[in-house]
């Protein structure tokens, strides 16, 4: 186990729900922290009576949603202003991902809650592209409840053996991130081809 993960787990045992709150808030906002390991460990500690399962689930989901909403809010309020201040044109691929997110906010927000750090980018793009706050929060809460609850319960079920399964969960996480990146490239390509096609038809 790496020293960074050992440090996080020590913090978790020392500060319990406060540590959970900080880890999940900052990981949802921007920091790439090993949250699946923390969730498995918390579930295992809950099975031994050191944590309350439902209180842990509540703290994890609430801090995740709070972090996600902070990212969404910052991108919504200041995203375009930052681009203007830096005199940078909004990249075309961001525009294409925005169109996709506006059209399919549910699948995009819900599914990226399962794929590691990709949720941070989707939060920013949702705020930047003006996805409605109601749809964003609904799918965010639902996605976090299912993904965090699933991992927490896996740790609860595995109990003392949770450490033997971290590799399995880490690899699954990388695979999910890869799938999300491929979908994002596909979306950008599809919308670009469509734009070229309509431009070509307009010329004819």
């Amino acid at each position: 186990m790496s020293s960074a993960i050992s440090f996080l787990l020590s913090l978790l045992l020392l500060y319990k729900y406060w540590a959970l709150l900080l880890v999940f808030f900052f990981s949802a906002l921007i920091l790439p922290l090993p949250t699946s390991t923390v969730l498995l460990a918390t579930g295992a500690f809950a099975s031994q009576g050191y944590f309350s399962f439902f209180l842990s689930l509540f703290v994890v989901v609430a801090s995740n949603v709070l972090g996600d909403y902070t990212g969404y809010f910052l991108a919504h309020r200041y995203g375009r202003r930052v681009f203007q201040l830096l005199h940078i044109r909004v990249p075309v691929f961001i525009g294409r991902l925005e169109i996709f997110l506006k059209r399919y906010p549910g699948p995009a927000v819900f599914l990226t809650r399962f794929a590691g750090t990709t949720d941070v980018l989707v939060n920013l793009l949702s705020g930047f592209g003006g996805v409605s706050i109601t749809a964003f929060l609904f799918y965010d809460i639902l996605g976090n409840l299912v993904s965090d609850g699933g991992l927490l319960y896996a740790g609860y079920f595995l109990g003392v053996h949770w450490q033997d399964f971290t590799g399995l969960f880490d690899i699954t996480d990388y695979i999910l991130i890869g799938i999300v990146v491929i979908i994002a490239i596909y979306v950008v390509m599809r919308y670009r081809n469509r734009a070229h096609h309509s431009e070509h038809e307009g010329r004819i």
């Binding site: 186990m1 050992s6 440090f7 787990l9 020590s10 045992l13 020392l14 295992a44 500690f45 809950a46 099975s47 031994q48 009576g49 050191y50 399962f53 609860y156 079920f157 595995l158 109990g159 003392v160 053996h161 450490q163 033997d164 399964f165 590799g167 399995l168 690899i171 699954t172 990388y174 695979i175 890869g178 799938i179 990146v181 491929i182 490239i185 596909y186 950008v188 390509m189 670009r192 070229h196």
Partner: protein, 142 residues
């Protein structure tokens, strides 16, 4: 850059990602097979079933799962040890006990973390072996 060239780059990126995903899938299958080879579920069936019902208190058999990042407070609770037992067994005088990790204690005591961890594991095992003998005066859940 021409659209055809951009398409080509995107296709290359997707191809690389697909290769990475295939490698990761092979690793995932290997991990799964490794767990199956150990007949993990069969070996730990009782322990897993215990966790399923949420009564995962640890026993002497689980002493080896103790790690240096764990706090004494957690170990006491998880193994149902009396709060002063480990403090007395290891002669811990640090005022932060039990809200202290094994690694922190080893560092402050200028001892090897591995040796300290082994001492903790031995203390847990001897607590349970002492409590299982008829002449023992304490029981694990006291």
């Amino acid at each position: 850059m021409s659209p055809q060239r951009k398409n080509w780059y995107a296709e290359i990126a997707v191809a690389i990602l697909v290769i990475v995903l295939i490698i990761l899938s092979v690793l995932l299958i290997q991990q799964y097979q490794h767990i199956q080879r150990l007949s993990y579920i069969a070996t730990h069936r009782q322990s897993l079933l215990r966790s399923l019902h949420g009564s995962g208190l640890l026993t002497a058999a689980d002493a080896s799962s103790t790690q240096a990042w764990m706090t004494f407070d957690y170990i006491n609770r998880a193994f149902a040890l009396p709060e002063q037992y480990l403090q007395a067994s290891l002669n811990i005088s640090d005022s932060r006990y039990p809200r202290l990790t094994i690694a922190e204690y080893a560092q402050d005591a200028k001892a090897s973390p591995v040796a300290t961890l082994m001492s903790v594991q031995e203390a847990i095992s001897s607590y349970y072996s002492a409590s299982s003998t008829p002449s023992a005066s304490t029981t694990p859940n006291q």
